[in-house]
Symmetry: C2
Subunit: 151 residues, 2 copies
Amino acid sequence: MEHEHFMLEALAEARAAAEIDETPVGAVMVREGKIIARGHNLRELCNDPTAHSEMIVIREASRVLGGWRLTDCTLYVTLEPCIMCAGTMVLARLPKLVFGAFDPRAGAAGSVIDVLTTNNFNHKVEVVGGVLAHESGMLLKEFFKDLRQRK
Amino acid sequence: MEHEHFMLEALAEARAAAEIDETPVGAVMVREGKIIARGHNLRELCNDPTAHSEMIVIREASRVLGGWRLTDCTLYVTLEPCIMCAGTMVLARLPKLVFGAFDPRAGAAGSVIDVLTTNNFNHKVEVVGGVLAHESGMLLKEFFKDLRQRK
């Protein structure tokens, strides 16, 4: 239930992205039962290839905590992270990731590649996937369907 | 010679990082024979796990070009990129990467993993490794030796 509670918050962020024509992916960072950072995809608005929701939230959490090690934090994101975001989680020593929909085309938490739970790097991230996956996936599907119809 | 010319600029950035006690890695983004962005590692100063030199330069180049697709650009960096930075190069559709020293512990351009030249993702990056590798590697070795002596 806790996972679903925070995933609903991440979904609210994803909807906020869709409202400004950004791919609807949202994320929240949780520490000691509280949200310390929240954000959504802003790639188009910011003209920034790094402006994925996870990156925005990791950077904001680092700012809030005053350090780049995200000890005791759990990141909730509506979509399986890409390789950039998964790599950042390893660098930030994130203990735990909870994600919504799986991404069979670019997912780096197992779908295409796994950089979070292997022994290849100096940190491993505990991963829970598929939390409210249907809701997260539908939001993306509807967004892209609408985008195609407008083109 | 062109590669060495721009790698020397990246090395100047790496030295600037060392001067402020940041791990000495530097980068420059080149387009049509000109440097359009330059930067160095700022992780400790910014308390930001994403503040690697490549990320700073990719974000700055996107700002300069007014878009997140880094068409016609070549990124020069003194050290083989980590998985976060390599993933970002794929997202930014970077055509070409030139790096200095290989990183056997965390390199994502072939040393530990290769995310740049595989068919797993929707973009491939041409990679040239080992340009002024000795100079780049020595800068890192001296930095960490000095750090250990100070502790």
